[in-house]
Amino acid sequence: MKKLLNEFKLRMLSRSSNESFARVAAASFIAQLDPTIEELSDIKTAVSEAVTNCIVHAYKEELGTIYIWTRIFEGGTVEIKVRDYGCGIENIAKAMEPLYTTLGGERAGLGFAVMQSFMDKLTVTSAPSKGTCVTMSKKLSLRMGDNAKQG
């Protein structure tokens, strides 16, 4: 793994009002890399998907804790881990299929598809009743050089 340049950890309750807080926090942290508007918006959307999944699926019937760990590596790679200790996923491959949803109604079943296409890499580990960890990373274009190095 490349050299770690910066990181932040966030712990929050699974309240839906935190969806916007989480994506804005990630975006402001990443601002130090001088991302393009598109990169910033991609990351915000991916974080929003992962956090929303913790709220609507993992902690469906309860209020739980969501952990977000964001790291910046040399070369401009951003890695974001979103973890919950909720219900977990029985069949990860199936859950990641586009349009697959266990909630129906107002859910499209496209959260993982969005994370996958907006980030470079997506890994999901999960176990029923143990919880889920979503790890996503994206290499930013670093238009202005390796800014985070100086900070």
Binding site: S16, E19, R107, A108
Partner: protein
């Protein structure tokens, strides 16, 4: 987050505003559905010009309205999608369910 709803003839236009995520989607959905129930339009226009953020909850909103209108013959037009919002809609293939205008164009012509 708010919705302004306009009803002209056969057309219901919903001017959506703010960030369309799971937290905000419920209120929007309830307002739009109330207008659909009251007016039974032939065309629903969803105007995204003032939407500043959208994730898959927005896709769910469009798909849900599509399902609700299915069988009534009513169409859905989506307008005013900025590039990031259009990008999310493309993943969903929403253009199969609704007419999507890219950019800030309005649909006044259709709406008349």
């Amino acid at each position: 987050m708010s919705v302004r709803i306009e009803n002209k003839g056969d057309v219901v236009t919903a001017y959506l505003e703010g960030e369309l995520d799971h937290h905000n989607a419920k209120a929007i959905r309830e307002d739009v559905d109330a207008a659909l129930d009251r007016h039974s339009p032939g065309l629903l226009v969803l105007d995204f010009r003032e939407i500043t953020f959208m994730d898959s909850s927005g896709i769910g909103l469009v798909m849900g309205r599509y399902k609700k209108l299915q069988g009534t013959g009513a169409q859905i037009h989506i307008t005013g999608t900025s590039p990031p919002i259009y990008k999310v809609m493309q993943i969903a293939g929403l253009s199969k369910l609704a007419n999507i205008d890219k950019g800030g164009k309005t649909l006044e012509k259709t709406a008349e």
